[in-house]
Amino acid sequence: MSVADLPKTEANVLRGHEGAVLAARFNSDGNYCLSAGKDRTIRLWNPHRGIHIKTYKSHGREVRDVHVTSDNSKLCSCGGDRQIFYWDVATGKVIRKFRGHEGEVNAVKFNEYSSVVVSAGFDQSLRAWDCRSHSNEPIQIIDTFTDSVMSVCLTKTEIIGGSVDGTVRTFDMRIGREVSDDLGQPVNCISMSNDGNCILASCLDSTLRLIDRSSGELLQQYKGHTCKSYKLDCCITNTDAHVTGGSEDGFIFFWDLVDASVATKFRAHSSVVTSVSYHPKDNCMISSSVDGTIKVWKS
């Protein structure tokens, strides 16, 4: 994919959140997107038409992350109220609340079969919650982290968490191993490459780091943006050609994955770009910002 195809043109602006938008996520097929914000709501949008579809209200504090199942039927969200909410998308009702984290919950993800929600919490733990049973107890607590866990990624067999203690830990369920890669810098957000071989970790020293998962090798570092105090998302484009991420000055950066040069950057928002999410197939991206907007970018 060439640089010209990168989504740099603003296609839509989704307005509606009052206050900062903390997360914006495409659904699995990229037709819809979800956003979560400081206004304690989760909103469902059609980013391609710029339509606000639904608002999910129940959280007591800010919503920090949201994830939708691959069949688009359920949502999970988490936030400052220390709970994970398990929603029904269509009715907008909360099916279940998972309580147990002793601190704010930073990130949440469904597994492949949407049967487990894994949450990353400020209480230094990753917790897995069972959506199938009616138990409200976590089915697994991973507490080897020594600091707040900021982000979590799931593969078919692994749970990967990134923490402020500077480690990215991979928990492999097949062999029962935990692999800890110490980046030395607080990890803000982790994101998987589409081939699943690499992990992109956003560190608080304004650097994105690309790690080879199998060897633990630091493949590349991406610099130029500012990320010193906020949780900023980063992701790899769907072709694995570029790395993108927001900056605290409102810019969105695209780096070449291989040579780490800034492929392009542009001012996207007037304030901190909190989250970016790349379309699973098209050259399309959404970004959210503290300025309360979600922008849809197309090439």
């Binding site: 080897t144 110490d182 800034v262």
Partner: protein, 989 residues
């Protein structure tokens, strides 16, 4: 009631007895027969069938009313039935008071009711008729409350009541209060006077009272005077004539407030309307709808079938378009016909009544001719200042000079000239300053090659001038372009910025600076410098293809930003080769620049080669790290391979199930706690615990907290001291062991241990020396058995005790992330130096223990488990070292375990001296199932760690810690943040 009663005097009401009631009943029956019927009604008593006296009327205080004081009956209270069917519609019954009254009550009401009747009139309804006429007359004068023609039948004008008429006849007038203040003396006096007056003119009195208006002036004034005197008392509430609100102005808003003339005009217009025919259907639109027609909000049309609604009106329109409405009215043809006469008057709506338009106005718009442009004016702006570009065209410039024979010097001069041309004079000044002592740069101050430099500079400027001239249509004027931050700063007398200084001094950032320059001004399409650079240095001469790629690379590099897809240009090359080559290029570019600006340009090639080689080395060793990065700020060695550690991790079976995986531990016994990680976390947590606790203490004491690695040693000592203090403090707190035992019975193992410790403390103190040999034996035994049982060395005991200290303490960086309250998730830098600090502390840890030892020696019965284990451990350290000196540091934890265990066993031993072997048996019992215990403990421990609470913390000291922790974690975010900031600062600085 009987005869005897006559002899007694009774006070009060006699209490009725049962017999009496019965007798009364008889009496009632008798009365019913008729002998009492003749009594006068007020003497009769109403009694029920049982002979009880009853009052009628529940509301008048009777003792029994209705059916047992209810509204019901014997059959119960049946509410009014309501049946309504389609055929038989239930009538709505109007209830009034008569429905609920008895006949006699009704009669009473009839007799008492006294009301006024409007119809009271001697001559029938003439009064009403009169009133109507009066109203009609009035209506002519003022607008009616209901605009438009109102059927007479609907609205009857109210006539004055008879009372009002009487009052009027008595001299009362509207607006006057009836009840004058009688306390007023003057009033009395006046009254007297009036009486006298009335009496005096009794003959005329009737007339005068009938029509007070016609009272002779003298009297009138006399009566009126007091009203003027004290308005307050004599005047009642004024009678307002309520004009209906017909406009759309806000309440109380008077658009004519400052223009009364218009009000007059409006009134006249209204009266005109009335004059034409107030009741005509035509005028309806004026009153009812007419005014609305002009008020429709602009921009919103109304369909033909739609009715004009209230919401169609423009609420925000000002009231001033009233005149418009009126103009519209005129335009209606039917009206205009009818109002032909008025129309002529209204033809000039802008003219006030009593005015007419002036024929020639005083005010005339004055117009001036535009200034005349001088014929010789050339529309061309000359920019002030001798700023070079383009305007030295006429200037022939310094004469052509042959370049100096030294090619290096020539190169240098060329480069400087180019840069100076681009960056301005400031650059020259700076480099002159910097290189004063350097003979190579003597051309700047007029030495060798100065002429050539001057010429070159001029040429460059010329070049650039041409360039910018072409670009003139681009908004940047050359002047503006020249006005860089530096020059501006210079003008303002500021210190030159760091960057500009670096430009000449540090070659490392020069590339950045150049790039910045290029990025800043798009006017440069072709960087002169790099072209020159290319000319100057062709590092890959031997390989033209590579050289070409290198050139392209340079171009891309300095053009910044966008990069062509095949950036390497070598599609046939492998990724790795391409990457390597790229690194080479980077290094080469770096070297070229360096060479350009290094003091000795002669060295440039060699230097470059050196660079290349070193760079190559660097890259091969360092993998894919950017040369630029390494050159710039962070000269930290790259960790290419991250610190990778592997631990065992046991997923819960259900998790595996949910992930559709086979549990790797299926069927296997629960895993033994992993050694490495355990040790890791153990050391880490305990130390971090210590660390944070130290922070706590230090902060609490107001001492600044240096988190530098170098300080760590001293600090830890400090910490240890403080800790020991805390420990000692903690010792004094009594620990309710039994309670804990009762609660945490599953942890009984631990508890027992500690309790044993506690109990044993004293005897141990007594016979330390005597016991050592025995202890050793026992310890050896115990360890052996344990080792056999587990198959490996596990130090759970120690870790538990350590954890007790450590786990209670908050995770280090956690609190920092608490600052999430700020706008979005704020993640402060977690102290990654944790490790180092902790490590050093760990090292320093033995020291403190040594310090503590004497303390412990004295207070061996301390409740604090930590200190005790410490002391005991120390004590047994010796023993074990005697026994197994081959244990190296790696096996430290196990050894600790030994210590711990041995300590416990030793204490056990001591006890066993006192008690029987029974106890020992129990202990071994607990050992036998130690494997499962371990697991349990491991879990519970982890739980405890997570919670940071006192599940395992039986010792009060650790409870204290936990308390500290809680307190701290609650209010510490700021503190923590500041700490981390400091930390960061420190690390950076």
């Amino acid at each position: 009631m009987d005869r005897e009663e006559d002899d007694f005097v009774f006070y009060g009401t006699p209490i009725e007895r049962e017999e009496e009631i019965i007798s009364r009943k008889k009496k009632a029956v008798a009365e019913a027969s008729g002998n009492l019927r003749t009594l006068v009604p007020w003497k009769q008593e109403v009694r029920d069938e049982e002979g009880r006296r009853r009052f009628h009327g529940a509301f008048s205080g009777g003792f029994s009313a209705g059916y047992y004081n209810t509204v019901g009956s014997k059959e119960g209270w049946t509410p009014q039935s309501f049946v309504s069917s389609r055929k038989n519609r239930a009538e709505v019954k109007q209830q009034n008071i008569l429905n609920f009254l008895d006949e006699d009550e009704k009669e009473e009401l009839e007799g008492q009711s006294l009301g006024t009747s409007l119809q009271f009139d001697t001559f029938g309804f003439t009064a009403a008729e009169l009133a109507r006429k009066q109203a009609e007359k009035e209506q002519q004068k003022r607008p009616s409350a209901i605009p438009g023609p109102v059927p007479d039948e609907l609205v009857l004008p109210s006539t004055d009541s008879i009372g009002v008429k009487l009052l009027l006849k008595m001299g009362w007038r509207h607006g006057r209060s009836i009840r004058d203040s009688h306390t007023n003396k003057s009033y009395d006096a006046r009254r007297e006077a009036r009486k006298a007056f009335l009496a005096f003119s009794s003959s005329d009195a009737k007339k005068q009272t009938a029509d007070p208006e016609s009272v002779p002036g003298e009297l009138e004034s006399y009566i009126d005077l007091p009203a003027g005197d004290d308005v307050q008392s004599s005047e009642s509430t004024p009678v307002y004539v309520l004009y209906p609100k017909q406009d759309l102005h806000g309440l109380g808003f008077d658009p004519y407030k400052h223009a009364p003339e218009f009000r007059e005009k409006k009134r006249s217009r209204l009266s005109d309307n009335k004059g034409i025919g107030y009741r005509s259907a035509l005028s309806m639109d004026n009153n009812l709808f007419g005014f609305k027609s002009g008020k429709v909000a602009p921009g919103f049309g109304i369909g033909a079938l739609e009715e004009l609604d209230a919401e169609d009106e423009d609420v925000y329109a000002s009231g001033y378009d009233f005149e418009e409405t009126y103009v519209e009215d005129i335009d209606e043809p039917s009206r205009s016909i009818m109002q032909g006469k008025q129309k002529s008057v209204r033809k000039e709506p802008g003219v006030l009544s009593g005015f007419r338009l002036a024929l020639n106005s005083d005010y005339q718009h004055e117009r001036f001719d535009p200034p005349v442009v001088p014929k010789d004016f050339v529309p061309h702006h000359k920019f002030p200042g001798p700023l070079e570009t383009g305007y030295k065209l006429g200037d022939p410039g310094p004469p052509e000079v042959l370049p100096p024979e030294d090619s290096n010097l020539k190169l240098l001069i060329d480069g400087v000239a180019t840069l100076v041309a681009r960056c301005g004079k400031l650059f020259e000044d700076l480099s002159r300053e910097k290189n004063q002592s350097n003979p190579l740069f003597s051309f700047l101050v007029g030495g060798n090659g100065h002429d050539y430099y001057a010429r070159k500079l001029w040429e460059e400027q010329q070049k650039r001038g041409d360039h910018t001239k072409q670009k003139l249509d681009v908004k940047l004027s050359p002047h503006m372009q020249k006005m860089t931050a530096e020059s501006r700063g210079q003008i303002l007398g500021e210190r030159p910025l760091e960057r500009s200084a670096k430009d000449s001094s540090s070659s490392a950032t020069s590339a950045d600076a150049i790039q910045l320059q290029y990025n800043l001004s798009d006017t440069f399409t072709k960087p002169a410098l790099h072209g020159e650079m290319l000319e100057a240095a062709k590092p890959f001469k031997e390989d033209p293809a590579k050289q070409e790629r290198f050139e392209r690379f340079l171009k891309e590099k300095y053009q910044g930003g966008l990069r062509s897809t095949e950036s390497g240009g070598a599609s046939h090359m492998s990724e790795a080769a391409r990457a390597r080559e790229r690194m080479d290029f980077e290094a080469a570019a770096e070297a070229i620049q360096k060479g350009k600006w290094s003091k000795d340009s002669k060295l440039s090639t060699s230097q470059f080669m050196e660079y290349l080689s070193s760079g190559g080395m660097q890259f091969t060793s360092g993998g894919l790290a950017q040369a630029k990065d390494t050159q710039t700020e962070n000269s930290i060695t790259k960790e290419v391979h991250l610190k990778r550690k592997e631990y065992q991790w046991r997923p819960s079976p259900i998790l595996c199930k949910r992930f559709d995986l086979i549990d790797p531990y299926m069927g296997k016994p629960p895993p033994a706690p992993r050694m490495k990680s355990k040790m890791e976390t153990l050391i880490f947590t305990s130390d971090s615990g210590k660390d944070t606790k130290a922070e706590e203490i230090v902060i609490a004491k107001g001492v600044s907290f240096p988190v530098a690695q170098s300080d760590a040693q001293g600090l830890s000592k400090d910490v240890a001291d403080k800790e020991s203090e805390v420990e000692i403090e903690a010792e004094n707190v009594e620990r309710p062991v039994d309670l804990y035992k009762a609660i945490f019975s599953d942890d009984s193992d631990d508890e027992e241990d500690t309790s044993i410790h506690n109990e044993v403390g004293n005897p141990e103190k007594k016979g330390e020396a005597a016991n050592t040999t025995l202890n050793r034996l026992i310890a050896g035994d115990f360890l052996e058995s344990l080792g056999k049982e587990l198959g490996l060395e596990v130090p759970p005991e120690l870790s538990s005790s350590m954890n007790k200290v450590g786990n209670s303490v908050p995770p280090k960086g956690t609190a920092t992330v608490n600052s999430v309250d700020s706008d979005i998730l704020r993640v402060d830098n977690a102290p990654s130096s944790n490790h180092e600090i902790l490590h050093s502390q760990e090292i320093a840890r033995d020291g403190p223990r040594g310090n503590i030892e004497p303390v412990n020696g004295n207070s061996a019965r301390s409740n604090s488990k930590y200190t005790e284990t410490g002391s005991l451990g120390n004590q047994f350290d010796k023993i074990i070292l005697e026994k197994a000196p081959q244990e190296d540091r790696k096996a430290k934890t196990p050894s600790r375990r030994h210590r711990n265990l041995s300590s416990s066993s030793s204490s056990e031993d001591e006890r066993s001296k006192k008690r029987s072997g029974q106890h020992r048996h129990r202990y071994s019992d607990s050992d036998s199932d130690s494997s499962s215990d371990h697991r349990d403990r491991h879990r519970s421990r982890s739980k405890g760690r997570r919670k940071g609470s006192s599940r395992e913390k039986s010792s009060s000291s650790s409870r204290k810690h936990s308390k500290h922790h809680k307190h701290r974690s609650r209010d510490s975010p700021e503190k923590e943040r500041s700490e981390t900031k400091r930390d960061k600062h420190k690390r950076r600085g």
